[in-house]
Symmetry: C2
Subunit: 236 residues, 2 copies
């Protein structure tokens, strides 16, 4: 049996934050798969491993514990896998980077596809997406991150903040290439960080495995089609 099981849909999106932490730290985890994820979500709360509304859900088999809510999973893994900066102010900023990422995912899918994108709504959103990029960039800059070297919070190695940056911006800019130029322009140090992490063996393997399993999927659903439409991308 593996050490962890992750319940999430067969897409990168919100699940890739936990996967990035697990992969980067060399942890041993299994993907529960779509059916088990849906089944766990739909159970009465009294039968759930941890009462939760939606995946991701992480089971830690060694500790016999379970946690839901992506940022709570990240805090849990941050402590378990030694990915926290280690002082109160930067630990809070690491979690903040995760939460910023979580918000960007909500915004780019219009809160799980409540409304679809069209040219006007996307145009109105672009300055806000730029601002999110600038928030990551400025955070990194304040801690010595450049396009060529360093980490988001000035740590000696990748922290939860760097893995959050990778999990947010790598799938988005790879699956939706028109956004890659925007990230490179608006947040060059962040783009450099993402590219450096992308080349590390654990995250390169995660990318290859995910691409092989799920193809071009980013967030899935009708909202992905509408996102690709406004970006002039054809879904393959």
């Amino acid at each position: 049996m593996t050490d962890y099981t992750l319940h999430y849909w067969p897409i990168p999106f919100r699940g890739h934050f936990a996967r990035a932490a697990l992969a980067h730290a060399g942890a041993d985890w299994a993907e529960a798969g779509t059916e088990a994820t849906a089944e766990a979500m739909d159970k009465p709360v009294s039968e759930q491993a941890v009462p939760h509304m939606a995946p991701p859900l992480l089971i830690d088999h060694r500790r016999d514990s379970a946690v839901a809510q992506m940022p709570a999973i990240m805090a849990y893994l941050g402590a378990a896998l030694d990915l926290m900066p280690g002082d109160p102010a930067r630990d809070a900023l690491a979690l903040k980077a995760v939460l910023d990422g979580n918000d960007v995912l909500d915004e780019i899918t219009r809160d799980g596809g409540r409304q679809m994108w069209d040219a006007a709504s996307w145009e109105a959103f672009e300055p806000r997406l730029s601002r999110w990029m600038a928030i990551f960039e400025e955070t990194g800059n304040r801690h010595g991150l450049t396009a060529k070297a360093g980490w988001m919070l000035g740590t000696g190695a990748a922290s939860l903040a760097d893995l959050a940056a990778w999990a947010l911006w790598s799938p988005m800019t790879r699956k939706l290439p028109p956004l890659r130029g925007m990230l490179e322009r608006e947040a060059p140090a962040t783009a450099g960080l993402v590219a450096r992490l992308e080349d590390t063996p654990p995250l390169a393997r995660l990318r290859e495995r995910s691409d092989a399993a799920w193809g071009e999927s980013y967030c899935g659903g009708q909202i992905e089609r509408s996102l690709r439409a406004v970006l002039g991308q054809v879904q393959r």
Copy 2:
């Protein structure tokens, strides 16, 4: 000078999570007020105390640090004010309770008022709101919480999870009384916990001060009017 300054709007809503933690722990904080909150939010990221999209924003004057994103503020205060359960599994569940609360706030305002409530959309949402209540209730039940005694995670005193439960359900059920009966029915142990915390001097004072300053406001804006309309409440 106070130890902390909280930037948030003059409503309970998302700001009350941080206020609950600060008040419960006897911390000394100032409210920045609407103008300073808006000003901090609108600055270029390079001039912000911490790069952020929206309040709440907490400044810790003693440590000269700043953090945004409500759940990250809660994690920061949880560590600083000794409000964490103290073991990895329950620490994660404490943060999960905060994140569940944050999601409920998004949902009850339809993500900051992107759409307004009407009878049909509210009716469709009610089972989901019940499920959120059941998630809190089941979490408490598993750790020995009853309507009369105990804490959400079986700790010896209120943890971040209990303060999150109070910050979520107390303003909602007090400002929108039709929801009080629903909480008592769907989540009696949680309702009991909220009532017990409500009677502690720090949270009673917070409630009195907030009511005096902000009156009946819950989340503000047009979305509050539409929420009161579907609940048959007149906004005073």
